[in-house]
Symmetry: C2
Subunit: 361 residues, 2 copies
């Protein structure tokens, strides 16, 4: 069992990584007998894992209830949030209640935001079930929902009290969703750790067959990288933005497509290539590294260009609404070499358009 | 001009109290030329004050936009919140935007909650225009909205960057709304300051005719009392709950009536009397003080019993959902003498029912 601590003084919490974590109730669960817990999950994950986890908790004396939401990124919305509040209020759940988000990043983000705002804040635990949520979404306390006019535009910083990463759940994940997680993993490597990028080049095939030691190493490394960033910049006021590599472009894809068809990771993969091409046009990146990135993304089953129907104008429209942009200026996280990125402020809109076209042609 | 600082380290901010504050742009506004501001107000306040404040800001070089919401407590809702988000996103307002809540507690609470959650948090300024908001709602960073199933059930702690209390606006307030503010003022005195209670007994008539020095003294005293509590317990985990005197009962009235007919302060006034009667039944309060309280509330134009149509059962149903209650146990803030309250845990439901009936008969 691997344990990584997110160090945030009073708000510190552990990330636990291992297989078989739903088999026994181990002391890493920050729960006591008679605690009241509401498991929040969706109608795809529920049939596979809800009862296993539910029974584990009940057997351990935890008062356990559940709420099953409709699956899908388009449900990371104010309406679904209201469904959660209504459930909690109908049953008179008080401030001592603990929510558990059992699912991918969508469930984690919305459960976290519900916890952030129900009665001005209650505790929650992340039990991420997608690779993407295990390496990224479940960690760091960014919670929130989408708005038709923009991705993740409404939210709060609210740290979980624990993140429980059970590797067993990855076996039921579709290849598309597994690849989606690989996009964020590759993002970490490009943004922060060139030797991890090298490790990925040599171990990608092991990851794809769910080789346990490789999975553990990889997820652990991502959690460590994220932990180190969050400890310095919990509220995303500086360095944390490096984790946004590819996201300004990728969010445009997701928003444009109405949070359907393309997964978050697929959008981010295309976005990373757009960021790489923007960096190339700015002469701050070299072609051979660009090729390594394109090859690794492709091997991971990820797209390296955006959806055919989107024009560069479509991108710009959404990108100007990005949380990093000020007064319509584009501030972009762009790579300088594998393992390093920097934020470039006020990037020329036409250069960005051309880079998007470079990527998509 | 009176200035009180809410001391919360990095989140400290000033409360400014004076008349004529919309006449000149003075340095206490934490705004700079070219700052982007969105004034949020409602359709009752807008015709009276929006242009005055808007023009003041524009003349001072602030980029000023506005959003006018429908008036009323029933609009302190998720739907209205979404209206704010849509407005901000449509016009691409970024994280540097500052919201200004111009209105009573409803506008202040919802503007604050929008600021707490738009792009995971932007700055906001409170410009309270009701007596109630000036002495209470605008101060301390409790923001939020109602849910059909309970008052203020969704929210966040998010401190404003300044509170600007312009006394001129009180002249257009209806008597009903003025009285509503007096309820919170009397609450402060009962909970925290017996000599202030005495001052109120002798100066209530001055307040009712808006005698400026009395108003200034009174509002200042309330702000000081609230500031002292918040500096110790920003997140309402202990002592801050004393400010909840009368609220567990009062919120039941508001929720039951669907946030209509009775103002917040009227509900709180009846709630204070119910708390007093509960304290009497618990033998922790004396009859002569109960009479002084009843008299002062009555002189302030406030109700001293609840709505006729509500039974004690109706109260209990909502009171069990109170944010202080744990597992349906009633934890109530009750007076021990004028100037002192304590939280009594797990108060007997029947005793509470009888006390509510004592009040209403
Ligand atoms: N908060 C953060 O810091 C952060 C970081 C990255 C991404 N995100 C967010 O995360 C979301 C994407 O997360 P995601 O990729 O996990 O999407 P997701 O939650 O939609 O999960 C993808 C699909 O896999 C299904 N699924 C989940 N676990 C499964 C399992 N074990 N077996 C079979 N199917 C399973 C889901 O039901 C869904 O259909 C986006 O909304 C993104 O904005 C947040
Ligand atoms: N956040 C907190 O700490 C806190 C504390 C106390 C109360 N509150 C909340 O505050 C709300 C009650 O506030 P309220 O009593 O100000 O109600 P309100 O905001 O509804 O205002 C009362 C009425 O007066 C009108 N109005 C406002 N200013 C006016 C003016 N200058 N002239 C004429 N009309 C004016 C309003 O439009 C409204 O119709 C409740 O929702 C309550 O929960 C919050
Ligand atoms: Zn991401
Ligand atoms: Zn109140």
């Amino acid at each position: 069992m691997e344990k990584i601590i997110i160090k945030l003084q009073k708000r510190s919490y552990p990330i636990i990584i291992a297989d078989k974590l739903f088999n026994d109730f181990l002391p890493f669960w920050p729960l006591n007998i008679d605690d009241k817990v509401v498991l929040i999950t969706n109608d795809r994950v529920a049939p596979i894992y809800l009862n296993i986890l539910r029974n584990l908790l009940i057997r351990s004396g935890i008062v356990t209830d559940q709420l099953i939401l409709p699956d899908g990124e388009q449900n990371k919305s104010l309406i679904t949030l209201d469904t959660i509040f209504t459930k909690l209020l109908k049953k008179n759940y008080d401030r001592s209640t603990i929510l558990i988000g059992l699912g991918g990043g969508v469930i984690g983000d919305i459960t976290g935001f519900a916890a952030a705002t129900y009665q001005r804040g209650i505790r929650f635990i992340q039990v991420p079930t997608t690779l993407l949520a295990q390496v990224d979404a479940s960690i760091g306390g960014k919670t929130g929902i989408n708005h038709i006019l923009g991705k993740n535009m409404i939210g709060a910083f609210h740290q979980p009290i624990a993140v429980i990463i059970n590797l067993d759940v990855l076996h039921t994940l579709s290849m598309k969703e597994f690849s989606s997680g690989l996009a964020e993993i590759i993002k970490y490597a490009i943004a922060l750790d060139s030797s991890f990028f090298g490790w990925l080049e040599s171990h990608l095939d092991d990851l794809l067959i769910l080789h346990l030691p490789s999975l553990i190493y990889c997820i652990r490394r991502c959690c460590e990288l994220k932990a180190s960033i969050i400890a310095i910049d919990e509220r995303d006021q500086g360095i944390r933005s490096v984790l946004n590599l590819g996201h300004t472009y990728g969010h445009a894809i997701e928003s444009y497509l109405g949070y359907s068809q393309w997964s978050h990771g697929e959008s981010i993969a295309a976005g990373i290539m757009m960021a790489v091409n923007t960096a190339l046009r700015l002469n701050q990146f070299n072609c051979s590294d660009a090729k390594r990135i394109k090859l690794l993304l492709t091997r991971a089953g990820l797209p390296v260009r955006g959806p055919k129907e989107m024009t560069s104008k479509n991108y710009l429209e959404y990108m100007k609404r990005d949380k990093k942009s000020i007064s319509g200026q584009l501030n972009l996280v762009l790579p300088t070499s594998i393992g390093n990125v920097k934020t470039v402020f006020n990037v020329n809109h036409e250069l960005v358009s051309s880079s998007i076209e470079d990527t998509n042609n």
